[in-house]
């Protein structure tokens, strides 16, 4: 039984074969770049191990490190805010803007604000919100969510972006050259940067020891957005901390190599307090993270540094696209995180995986993703949501058949008979999801059981 959640939009995505293959190939190239960069460092595995240990330690003392971070950040002139959930986060950000009469905000990438749906919240209250990462701006203008956490517009062809830019920012009709389109976006967004009254960024890492936040971009949009408007708001989940400054070296070496196959992002910006005459606000957000921390089975997922490597390598993600997951964070890590938020809404995601384990192999912080996916399946089937009742029934029948020799042998005989003589319309009926794109195997002339029984004969 297939669960309709992920499978239906995935089938829609895959129906356009040309695009699905192109998407698959584009992400595979990123994966290969990552492999080359990882292979250049003999100490790669040691770095991953160290990163995993630092994260595990930080998670075991998260409250203390957050207090230390707050103390240090405050002593350097930052103002620290705390938000229990998405709504409180949005209210805090809006409050900072409203108190200062700010109506023009530029943003660099922040998956946390996507998770909190900050943009619609602010726009509804009269704030102009401009995403400035090129990929983010593309999907914002298209009225779509990002389909990938590092490559937000990876699902779009350049012709579509050309058409979109023609409609929204006035590029020439029919123009689709990436250099031309990027140049047009640069001019369009430069105006927004210079007119902005505040800049909002995500946070890649926060350092407990120094009270600093680190933001990584290739475009320089976080730096443009925080060096000209006087107010900088940095939004971070509680899990973004590392204990010491020196720990950054480990994560910085891993992050860009894993994400895009670069040795380091073009800009790795370290903010300690506000710029002269300006303000720095750091909003620390829980929104379900403390609950995840308390969950022994899945707390390891809090180590995620959002590099996207698990998406680029995932055969299901590459062939189904990020939007088919229906959640802010798609791919293997999203499929582990989302059911923790709302099992009923995201019950299908842990099944959108072949459990091949490739995600585990590339994860820079060694999250055992496929173990987590399997555990999610176990929990979802034990307390099934609507789409999984069928699966539960199937598993019961399977247990019965596999638990009885007589039933198993009878089942095998019936299946072989059916494979040989069953009419095609029945063999490939709607029940046979597996057979939609594949031929069933031919029934063997001799079963393994027969071969075993007569072993030794006929072999000289």
């Amino acid at each position: 039984m297939t669960s309709p959640g992920h499978a239906v939009p995935a089938a829609r995505f895959a129906a356009n074969e040309e695009r699905a293959h192109w998407h698959d190939g584009a992400l595979w190239l990123v994966r290969q770049k990552r492999d080359r960069m990882a292979g250049e460092l003999p100490e790669w595995e040691e770095l991953r191990e160290r990163a995993a240990r630092i994260k595990a330690h930080t998670c075991s003392r998260l409250a203390e490190y957050l207090e230390a971070f707050e103390r240090e950040a405050t002593s350097r002139g930052a103002k620290v805010h705390w938000a229990r959930d998405a709504d409180e986060h949005n209210r805090i950000v809006h409050g900072i803007l409203a108190e200062r009469g700010i109506t023009r905000l530029v943003k660099s990438k922040s998956m946390l604000t996507e998770e909190c749906h900050l943009n619609p919240y602010l726009i509804a209250r009269g704030i102009e919100v401009v995403d400035t990462d090129l990929g983010e701006r593309i999907v914002q203008l298209a009225g779509e969510p990002p389909s990938h956490i590092v490559l937000p517009a990876i699902h779009k062809k350049k012709e579509e972006i050309g058409e979109l830019f023609h409609r929204t920012i006035g590029t020439e009709a029919g123009a689709s050259d990436p250099t031309y389109l990027t140049g047009a976006a640069r001019i369009h967004l430069r105006e927004k940067f210079l007119a902005a009254q505040a800049g909002l960024t995500g946070v890649n890492f926060a350092v407990a020891e120094t009270g600093g936040v680190v933001v990584c971009t290739n475009e320089g949009n976080a730096d443009m957005g925080t060096s000209f408007p006087p107010v900088h708001i940095a939004c971070m989940g509680v899990e973004k901390l590392v204990p010491r400054l020196e720990d950054l070296s480990v994560f910085i070496r891993l992050l860009a190599r894993s994400a895009t196959g670069q040795p380091i992002t073009t800009y790795t910006s370290h903010f300690h307090g506000p710029m002269a005459g300006g303000e720095l606000h750091v909003v620390i957000v829980d929104n379900g993270r403390s609950r995840l921390l308390a969950d022994e089975a899945f707390r390891g997922a809090l180590a995620c540094i959002r590099c996207g490597a698990c998406m680029n390598t995932c055969p299901v993600f590459r062939r189904s696209g990020g939007h088919s997951y229906g959640w802010t964070i798609p791919g293997p890590i999203g499929s582990v995180l989302a059911p923790g938020r709302d099992p009923a809404a995201h019950y299908s995601l842990p099944f959108a995986s072949s459990l091949c384990g490739s995600c585990d192999d590339v994860c820079p912080v060694k999250i055992p993703l496929h173990d987590h996916l399997l555990e999610r399946r176990r929990q979802l089937v034990a307390a099934p949501a609507r789409g999984l009742l069928g699966k539960r029934f199937t598993m019961r029948v399977a247990r019965m058949v596999l638990g009885s020799r007589a039933l198993y042998e009878l089942g095998g005989r019936v299946a072989r008979l059916f494979l040989r003589h069953g009419p095609r319309w029945l063999l490939y009926g709607p029940w046979n999801v597996w057979g939609r794109q594949r031929e069933l195997p031919p029934a063997p002339v001799r079963t393994f059981r027969d071969a075993w029984r007569t072993r030794g004969t006929g072999h000289g």
């Binding site: 584009a26 460092l41 100490e43 040691e46 160290r50 240990r53 330690h57 998670c59 075991s60 003392r61 998260l62 957050l66 350097r76 002139g77 705390w82 229990r84 400035t132 990462d133 090129l134 593309i138 490559l151 517009a153 990876i154 350049k158 250099t179 990027t182 640069r186 967004l189 940067f193 120094t210 475009e219 320089g220 949009n221 443009m224 060096s227 000209f228 400054l245 020196e246 070296s249 480990v250 910085i252 670069q262 040795p263 380091i264 992002t265 073009t266 800009y267 790795t268 910006s269 903010f271 300690h272 307090g273 506000p274 002269a276 620390i284 829980d286 403390s290 609950r291 921390l293 308390a294």
Partner: protein, 197 residues
Amino acid sequence: MASREEILAALRGAAVPAQPLPAEPPAAAVRYPDPVARLADAVRAVGGGMVRTPSAAELAREVAALAGRVHATRIVSEVPEAGGGTLRLTEVADPHDLEGVQLAVLPGAFAVAETGAVWLPTAAFRHRGVFVIAEHLALVVRADAIVNDMHEAYARLRFDGPGFGVFIDGPSKTADIEQALVIGAHGPRSCTVFVVG
């Protein structure tokens, strides 16, 4: 403050078993026999350029040549030996007036051979955003200020007060349209590292 206490209590309540923080330093990574040569390769690999200049006089000549190549007439220089520039940051009241600066010549504290990145502290600048708003960027580092890897780099950093610093690795870039690499996204369209000495 209620939220703060609630969040901290919830995190403490999660009762995660203690895990040790790795205390030993990271194992020695690659030590480059010729860090300058490696730096040149690393900078070029990320779309930047590197120029080695033996002396300050040579530096000024090379920077002037760069300014000529990019047709820069509005130049900010925070490196006196590289030439004065045409605009002093201290004379610019509003950072927005830096729009239109064609070349910024800035002093990097050190460079990292592993990645090609240059550490730029900005405490001495009146406007920190000059490194990203300029159309072209020149970063000047001393030849004896090249570290092997990011571990050595972070061991050098100190953040005692408020301040902003950034590792810069080549020109601003994006590949957000069909993964096609485009140099000059929001920041400088070129980045040249001058190694002096």
